[in-house]
């Protein structure tokens, strides 16, 4: 169940606010500074303006993407609204294997400044859901407690490889060069329906705390994203267009600005700067000088920067009053807000300390952090406890809880209490701003609603409380961790050469490299690599009989691709594996993919819908997903919709999905798939041939890796035999293992060379390949053998391969007399017959048929006769 879903299903209409603030004639674009979003059924429109933090519709309703709005423009037709963004990521968007890099449990409301060169930062304006509030929290500080759950916190920066602190040094002066957000702050507040001072204050405070942190990083990361945008498909065309129109003049001007001492400007200076377009240039200059920025920012970027400058500068000059006003408010707002925040975190104690901290906070986040750490021990203790609780709750909810914020008062008690004790100012403000959309939200706790919450709720989509947030009861072990208890003493290591060899020959021991599959490896590697680099999608079908290394090769490919992704040679990607045999029903494939992708649990239908949305949504902030579907034929359903979807998603423009499928039969697409599915699978196919004896020999040799346990001839015999039968490497390894065992047993007696020789291998081969029917017949009792003979005699008489028990029994009795045995009676005869039937030497009908049950031989007559004769 999603909390945003109701909102999403509503029709949203997007309108520009006011007139265009700038125009780019060459690109035929008009720039705007704010946009209003009206939702059906709501009286008031929500407004988003430049610099604001917004939610972008994503594939996960619970956790829409978070970003800061940098630019808004429309093309000449006026139809398509485009937004340029700085992304933030939630923990659940960070690749699963990287999450532990954080080294702590993420705060449920925590987001990270996203710095990734490969991420497209232009999205369709109509994917904007609304505004959201973000607060910056210094690295050392605990997360503020008791804030509305709509507020998101930023502490760290995520650059796809590690979490880094947002450098306060960068943060502090950032107020001055940070032009786009302040410049747009005016319009934003202005756009509020009731420009009540307290509302403004709150709005400001939210942005202030947050704004102080982001600029430095943001500009650099922006550079990266711009850089990557030139590479990525979505923005490719646009940037190319712009590049062609590049002018060198503004570039020079910007270079000059680079040297301007804008970093040390006071807040007033900032205000001043906000008024002119220089600020924009400082931003871009920062962009070039940013320490985190990659050196690879090349000349290709300049047209983009220039463009931006051109378009934003009129914007800032357009609103001369507002920035000043906001600046005035800033102090007040901060003062008004921070105490309450401190109070929250300090569990309503120490207002003085809080005020102190707040004062410092204005100018030097580092100091604040330091002092607050030293002085607010008790507060920290309490808050950490609450945080723990939060985390607990967050874990229960799943990682998507980030987005659900503070709407469910009933399940998030600490925040409620804190909210109730929030300051009068806020109460007032709340009443003022409780203007829109709240009606629905009232659930009997109107007074306790916090101001920021209502404010945000006016913009953010309404959420219905998720059922997952129900308080943790010991009802079911829902979050039980699957594990097998560990043993008391560690397993013994192999002692001698044979044991060592056996351990190496076990199928499970993963070899360093896969010999004999170099060509296949290269093909798959190239395929996946090209798709990952291009950011496109595709399908591949891999076939081959069991035990030819299909899955192992794909895993090997992924391993080496991941290695090169670590080393930044290719963009990062997600690898997900599902196996048709490891699910109970084909539709479970959706559930498993979704769970591995986003950690969500859902029913198959819902999962399918969510995945559909994810892979077709235009939101481009995605890494490529490489999906391995093992045992594809098990995903067959009558309508084949599972397969259809799996092969259809990669063809979507924004999916960035690479699907590798594995099955045993080469002609699976032709045999079981209907045309539209087979067509989507495409013709990228590969077939793994069974191993030849040379390859098998090489595999064993490379596994043994100079452990001398086998005679050369013995190895050759095994590989030749297996190659002739199946070419199954598993079989080959199993035989070798068995041979070492036989050698070990016989070795103690004969005191031979200690190597596995021909005789041992022969014995192992015999054990595994020889049919047991003959020895079973030889070891059968006299009556059983007679009965088999009677069956054959009856078959010969009838000229058929089938007879009833009655007929055979007559023969049997006759044979008994010939052999000088007392003839068996019917009961005995049936017992003998059934016993042969249970071994499947005979094939029988149900014993209920009694005399008339039909008998067939399950062995060839010659085998039976051979076995009986030799007796």
């Amino acid at each position: 169940m999603s909390r945003y879903i109701t909102r999403l299903r509503m029709r949203r209409t997007y309108k520009w606010n006011g007139r265009p603030v700038g125009e780019d004639r060459k690109l035929k674009r008009q720039y705007y500074e704010s946009m209003s979003i009206s939702v059906e059924g709501k009286t008031e429109d929500a407004t988003v303006s430049l610099g604001q933090y917004i939610l972008i519709e994503g594939d996960d309703d619970d956790n829409p993407f978070v970003a800061q709005l940098l630019k808004l423009y429309t093309d000449d037709s006026g139809k398509k609204k485009t937004a340029v963004l700085q992304w933030f990521v939630r923990m659940c968007e960070v690749p699963q294997n990287k999450r532990k890099l954080l080294g702590r449990d993420p705060h449920p409301q925590e987001i990270f400044f996203y710095q990734d060169r490969s991420c497209d930062n232009e999205v369709d304006g109509e994917t904007i859901l609304g505004a959201v509030q973000i607060e910056y929290v210094p690295v050392q500080d605990p997360f503020p407690v008791g804030k509305s759950r709509d507020i998101l916190f930023v502490k760290l920066l995520w650059d796809t490889k590690s979490f880094r602190a947002l450098d306060p040094e960068l943060m502090q002066p950032s107020q001055s060069p940070k032009s786009p957000p302040p410049s747009s702050r005016g319009p934003q507040t202005r756009a509020l329906p009731t420009p009540d001072p307290s509302v403004m204050k709150r709005a400001m405070s939210g942005i202030l705390t947050r704004g102080s942190m982001s600029t430095g990083k943001m500009s650099s990361s922006e550079a990266e994203s711009l850089h990557s945008a030139s590479k990525l498909s979505a923005a490719k065309a646009l940037s190319a267009k712009r590049r062609s129109q590049a002018v060198s003049g503004p570039q020079v001007r910007k270079k000059l600005d680079l040297c301007s001492p804008s970093k040390n400007m006071s807040r007033d200076d900032v205000l001043g700067e906000l008024l002119d377009e220089r600020s924009e240039k400082t931003l871009t200059s920062k962009l070039n000088t940013s320490p985190t920025g990659r050196i690879s920012i090349s000349i290709r970027l300049t047209p983009l920067n220039l463009n931006k400058e051109e378009c934003v500068s009129p914007l800032s000059s357009h609103s001369p009053d507002k920035p000043r006003m906001t600046a005035h408010d800033k102090d007040d707002a901060a003062r008004a807000r921070t105490p309450s925040r401190r109070k929250d975190s300090a569990a309503l104690r120490e207002p003085a300390l809080a005020a102190l901290a707040e004062e410092e906070h204005e100018d030097s986040p580092i100091n604040t952090a330091a002092t607050s750490r030293s002085k607010r021990k008790s507060a920290q203790l309490v808050s950490s406890r609450i945080k723990k609780q939060l985390n607990l709750l967050g874990n229960k909810i799943g990682l998507q809880s980030d987005g659900e914020d503070g709407d469910d008062d009933d399940c998030f008690i600490p925040s409620k209490i804190d909210l109730q004790s929030s300051s009068d100012e806020e109460e007032e403000a709340k009443i003022d701003s409780e203007d829109e959309l709240i009606v629905k939200k009232h659930r009997g706790s109107g007074t306790s609603r916090s101001t920021e919450k209502t404010r945000v709720s006016a913009r953010t989509p309404r959420k219905t409380p998720s059922k997952k947030t129900a308080p943790a009861t010991p009802r079911t072990p829902r979050h039980a961790t699957p594990s097998i208890p560990s043993r008391t003493a560690p397993a013994r290591k192999p002692g001698n050469v044979l044991e060592e060899a056996r351990a190496r020959l076990h199928v499970s021991s993963v070899p360093e490299s896969l010999p004999c599959r170099e060509q296949e490896f290269q093909d798959i590697y190239n395929f996946v690599e090209s798709k990952v680099i291009d950011g496109t999608g595709g399908c591949m079908y891999i076939s081959g009989v069991p035990g030819t290394g299909k899955t192992a090769t794909v895993h090997e490919v992924i391993r080496s691709l991941q290695q090169s992704a670590e080393q930044d040679e290719i963009p990062h990607f997600r690898f997900i594996e599902i196996n048709g045999m490891k699910m109970t029903d084909p539709h479970q494939a959706y559930v498993q993919i979704l769970q591995k992708l986003t950690d969500q649990k859902a029913t198959p239908d819902h999962a399918a819908a969510l995945l559909e949305k994810r892979f077709s949504a235009p939101a481009p902030k995605k890494e490529t997903v490489v999906l391995l579907v093992d045992e594809l034929d098990l995903l067959w359903t009558r309508k084949q919709n599972v397969m259809y979807n799996l092969f259809d998603w990669p063809t979507r423009r924004n999916a960035r999905l690479v699907v590798l499928t594995i099955a045993n039969t080469m002609d699976l697409p032709e045999r079981i798939m209907i045309n539209r599915v087979a067509s989507r699978l495409g013709l990228t196919r590969m077939s793994f041939q069974p191993y030849t004896f040379k390859q098998l020999q090489q595999i064993i040799t490379s596994r043994l890796n100079r452990v001398k346990a086998f005679e050369e001839d013995a190895l050759q015999l095994v590989s030749r035999k297996v190659a002739a039968l199946s070419g199954d490497a598993r079989r080959c390894l199993d035989i070798c293992r068995r041979a070492t065992e036989i050698c070990e047993h016989s070795g103690s007696q004969k005191n031979s060379s200690g190597l596995v020789g021909m005789s041992h291998v022969m014995e192992a081969l015999d054990e595994m390949f020889s049919s047991s029917y003959i020895s079973a017949i030889r070891c059968a009792s006299v009556q059983e053998q007679l009965f088999l003979r009677a069956v054959i005699a009856e078959f010969r008489r009838l000229g058929l391969e089938e007879a009833t028990f009655q007929q055979v029994f007559v023969q049997h009795q006759a044979l008994c007399r010939v052999e000088g045995l007392q003839p068996a009676n019917v009961s005995e005869g049936l017992t003998v017959c059934q016993r042969l039937g249970s071994c499947r030497l005979l094939l029988l009908e149900g014993s209920r048929l009694d005399l008339f049950l039909r008998i067939r031989l399950n062995v060839s007559q010659d085998d039976v006769l051979y076995a009986l004769k030799a007796d």
């Binding site: 097998i484 560690p490 045993n664 079989r731 079973a776 019917v826 499947r840």
Partner: protein
């Protein structure tokens, strides 16, 4: 039904004073059990409680305090108790007979899983009664006596007859492993969740640090009939990958079990098969009989046990007894049929004759080997017998083609007309009634039970008796009229 009776029978046998168990009931039961090897199999398993015996204390302790002074009755009941335990598979033998190499192989394999954490898979294949479970029980007993293995090994036992689909099997595995989604005896979550959970659990383990899990799959072939063989695939896949060490032990009597496996499942199976084919000669068989019947040296009353053992030795040398045992040996080499024979013989020992005599064994053999239908035929009325004979003649005339009541009645009438003096004239309804009784006894069976539209008189039937069975029954039938006998012997109706 059969199970319940068998249980009651066993309980009756276990009572100390055993005198008058209804032989008829026993006979019926035994013959019934003869017909259904699967059920017999389960019944013996059910009452064997094999696993508990391995780990738990020995179920019977000799009461040492009244060692020498046992009365005759006490000695007998004690001896019977001891032998019953042996013969009803309640106690594992000290050493499996004639399975030494298989024993070593299996033990070595499991030891490596337990100690080295090496994953393995193996099938134990052998006909019913060949000692698969016994072998495994002995191996596990030995394995558990190793200190290293004792604390480390987790055992999961499944039976294809009980876990009839993967869903149930999965729950059972989860329950026996005490995974975390088990509360009490209940397993939470859907089938899909359980599977994912179990696989996740097994995946998290690794070779050196997780406790190895032994999966014992009794009636392995039945698991191969589960949908997609999901369970087998996953277990065998774990055994072939670097996850929690597992040993998958399949027990089956089907020789063609590998052909049941899907190719990808088959590929993951290690193809180790341990075959249990008994290659006993008759002399060895006799030795086994002697050993099975002998009382152990630590029997509290040495005098009694000496006497008993002496009588057993003498018994085995007896010609008739040897003949009986040879016939049993010819019938099947497995010990289960031998045990049921000896069991009946031992049960006949009482205070009046305190040793095992050949008469006991002969009587036991008679009970065991008697044809089940011949017994039923003894209880028929003359009229019913006449109908059977009429049907036999019809069978002879029409070469086994089905007949209907009308035909039988005609045949019967012809006979009455010829020999009216010896048999009453029966009205047709009375004959019909007798016919229906035969139908109920399933001595006659409709050819196609699906079609009921046909009038009862004309419904096609088949006789479920062999020619020989009818003749034998007639020979033994008390006071059978000579005319009827002659009619039966005559070549034409």
């Amino acid at each position: 039904m059969c199970l319940k009776f068998y249980g009651e029978l066993l309980e009756a046998q276990n009572q100390p004073v055993h005198s008058s168990v209804s032989w008829a009931a026993e006979r019926h039961l035994l013959s019934a059990l003869m017909w259904t090897p699967e059920i017999r199999h389960v019944a013996s398993r059910k009452y064997a409680g094999q696993w508990r015996e391995i780990t738990g204390p020995a179920p019977v302790k000799m009461s040492k305090r009244r060692s020498a002074a046992l009365t005759g009755a006490q000695g007998i009941s004690l001896a019977q108790k001891l032998l019953r335990e042996r013969l009803c598979h309640q106690k594992l033998p000290d050493q499996p007979v004639g399975l030494d190499s298989q024993y070593k192989h299996l033990l070595e394999l499991l030891r490596r899983t337990a100690v080295h954490g090496e994953s393995n898979s193996v099938l134990i294949v052998g006909p019913r009664g060949s000692g698969k479970t016994m072998l495994l029980g002995c191996v596990l007993r030995e394995l558990m006596s190793l200190k290293e293995a004792q604390k480390n090994v987790l055992l999961v036992e499944l039976n294809g007859l009980l876990q009839t689909d993967d869903k149930i099997a999965l729950k059972e595995i989860t329950r026996q492993l005490h995974l975390e989604n088990v509360v009490g005896d209940k397993v939470f979550g859907s089938f899909a969740e359980n599977l994912a959970f179990l696989l996740e659990a097994l995946k998290k383990g690794d070779k050196s640090s997780s406790r190895p899990v032994l999966f014992v799959l009794d009636e392995f072939d039945l698991f191969a009939h589960h949908k997609n063989q999901t369970l087998l695939y996953n277990l065998l896949d774990v055994s072939q990958s670097a996850q929690t060490p597992v040993a998958v032990l399949g027990l089956t009597c089907r020789l063609d079990v590998l052909e049941l496996l899907e190719k990808r499942v088959k590929s993951r199976f290690s193809h180790r098969q341990i075959h249990l084919f008994s290659s006993l000669s008759f002399a060895q068989y006799l030795d086994v009989v002697r050993a099975q019947l002998s009382l152990p040296p630590d029997f509290p009353d040495p005098k009694f046990s000496d006497e008993w053992n002496h009588s057993v030795t003498k018994l085995c040398e007896d010609k008739t007894v040897e003949e009986i045992l040879r016939r049993n040996f010819n019938g099947s080499k497995d010990f289960r049929s031998l045990h049921s024979l000896l069991f009946l013989a031992v049960s006949r020992v009482s205070v009046s004759h305190s040793t095992l005599r050949e008469a006991d064994l002969i009587e036991a053999w008679r009970l065991i080997s008697v044809d089940s239908k011949a017994n039923v035929l003894h209880g028929l009325s003359i009229l019913e017998l006449c109908l059977i004979i009429a049907m036999k003649h019809l069978n002879d005339t029409y070469d086994g083609e089905p007949f209907n009541f009308q035909m039988v009645h005609n045949e019967f009438k012809k006979f009455i007309q010829r020999k009216s003096h010896s048999i009453h004239k029966f009205e047709k309804p009375v004959v019909m009634k007798a016919f229906e009784h035969l139908l109920q006894l399933e001595l006659v069976r409709p050819v196609d039970s699906g079609v009921c539209k046909v009038q009862r008189e004309y419904q096609l039937m088949r006789l479920m008796l062999e020619h020989g069975q009818v003749m034998e029954a007639l020979q033994r039938y008390p006071q059978c009229p000579t005319d009827v006998k002659q009619w039966a012997l005559s070549a034409f109706g």
